[in-house]
């Protein structure tokens, strides 16, 4: 119980854990879909507080990690062009492409800027009418609506020098792909709460029914995770498989209708390749034909890029819950947050980074002091 006093309400945490312990009678494997949840779990040692029967498997829900190498390489190519201002969320800057990252492009003279919101990138375009401004539009269903709105605004305001490099991904097809995999061990899902704040819960009953798998919509704080696990284990023990909302303060069944309408207008569903995993049918969005002129891939023809994944990196297996990060040979040796080989080590949401930063038990003393410096919270 060494972490439990750090919980916001340690008494409630203890009660939830006791309930889980008294409910569970046999082993269960639960997948938390979202990288934010993985971080909460590792940071608070929730996986170690849970009874041995409950295993948490980390899911593919880190947008930075799953952005395909090919798209990173396209971003690097566009950002290197003279006259381009390339805007991105900060956590994309160190994601390695085939031979460099956005930080390097910037140190070589590229105009790479970090923005907090896609609307900031649109403002940069308004202020620099003689330059091409490209925003790196990655993320799941939570980030896609802001990016969709920005493209809509660009058209409404007639801003011609703005475009989006789109690599959006959708959760339900990923769940489907995980359940179809012959080596799948997942028996239940903690669904990502903020994705559901936008999309609601309507996409899940079909999956729960088809694969007989409980899906519990779960928030991001330590107590949210414990409550999500408690409800999931309850269903598993009873042999139920329904969609349950354990995050009602932020998730309504219908999600956010205005955001969903904008998504449907600006984007269309497409097959998308996930880094380390491969193509998952219908798992992404691209700009719909009406907005094609705002598509950076269209505007800057970036083709013929030769992409090469580092052979040592096993992030594909990590992202599918088939391998725990510390089981990778490169983990903590040739691959650290400072010298990342794979995206799951770069991203602050990535499972490899979470293990490296918070699971200090598994580290050599030298690596541990490196991780203390690297983390904002310890």
């Amino acid at each position: 119980m060494k972490y439990i006093d750090e919980f916001q309400d340690p008494d409630l945490a203890r009660r939830l854990l006791d309930e889980i312990r008294s409910t569970v009678t046999r082993p269960w494997a639960l997948m938390e879909v979202c990288g934010g949840q993985t971080h909460t779990i590792i940071r608070h040692g929730i996986d170690q507080l849970l009874p041995d029967e409950v295993e948490l498997i980390h899911g593919p829900g880190c947008p930075v990690c799953v952005t395909p190498l090919e798209v990173i390489d396209k971003a690097l190519a566009i950002a290197s062009r003279p006259g381009v201002i390339f805007c991105s969320f900060g956590d994309m800057l160190r994601v390695p492409g085939t031979d460099r990252d956005l930080f390097q492009v910037r140190s070589e003279g590229g105009d790479v800027r970090v923005v907090y919101s896609p609307l900031d990138a649109l403002r940069v375009a308004q202020q620099n009418p003689d330059r091409e401004v490209v925003f790196f539009g990655i993320g799941f269903e939570t980030t896609a609506p802001p990016n969709a709105m920005t493209v809509y605004q660009a058209r409404k305001l007639g801003i011609p020098n703005f475009s989006l490099l789109v690599s959006h991904v959708r959760v339900p097809p990923a769940i489907d792909a995980i359940m179809r995999s012959p080596s799948c061990r997942v028996q239940a899902f903690l669904a990502a709460g903020h994705v559901c704040s936008v999309m609601g819960t309507g996409e899940y009953p079909d999956l729960a029914e088809r694969y007989e798998v409980p899906i519990v919509v779960t928030g991001f704080e330590p107590l949210d995770i414990l409550e999500g696990v408690r409800r999931t284990v309850l269903q598993l023990e009873r042999g139920e498989h329904t969609v349950d909302n354990a995050y009602p303060r932020a998730v309504r069944p219908e999600g956010n209708p205005a955001a969903r309408a904008m998504l449907a207008d600006v984007f269309e569903v497409t097959d998308r390749s996930w880094r380390g995993i491969g193509v998952i049918p219908d798992s992404g969005w691209r700009l719909s034909p009406r907005y094609r002129e705002y598509d950076a891939e269209h505007r800057f023809s970036v083709t013929g890029i030769d992409t090469r994944e580092p052979a040592a990196c096993r992030s594909g297996e990590v992202l599918q819950g088939l391998l725990k990060p510390h089981e990778c040979e490169a983990f903590g040796t040739s691959c650290t947050p400072r010298t990342p080989l794979g995206a799951t080590m770069v991203s602050s949401e990535g499972a490899c980074a979470a293990y490296y930063l918070y699971r200090r038990l598994d580290l050599t003393p030298a690596a541990a002091s490196d991780s203390l410096e690297g983390s904002a919270v310890v």
Binding site: G90, Y116, P146, K156, F220, R252, N256, V377
Partner: protein, 87 residues
């Protein structure tokens, strides 16, 4: 970037035909687009992701989450600029 942070609306205005708000995230103040939650009022709380309010939140949950994020250093992680941190 993945974090959706609760914030309190301080002020609302129309800019270029878009409903925008000034929102306080436990001391950090940012511009936030309200187009997806158009009936949000001054003083109310919402979950905000990359500059967009996505869902209303009650005050009690918002405060608890913000306190927790603050303790964990997550607000700095979310709002800090990695380019400045590098230099």
């Amino acid at each position: 970037m993945c974090l959706a942070v609760p914030g309190r609306v301080l002020d609302i205005e129309d800019r270029d035909g878009t409903r925008m708000a000034t929102v306080d995230f436990g001391g950090v103040v940012k511009e936030v687009c309200l187009e997806y939650l158009p009936d949000l009022r001054v003083g109310e709380y919402a979950i905000v992701h990359v500059g967009f309010a996505l869902q209303r939140l009650d005050e009690e949950s918002a405060r608890r989450t913000l306190e927790l994020f603050e303790t964990l250093g997550l607000l700095q992680e979310e709002f800090g600029d990695p380019l400045e941190a590098q230099q």
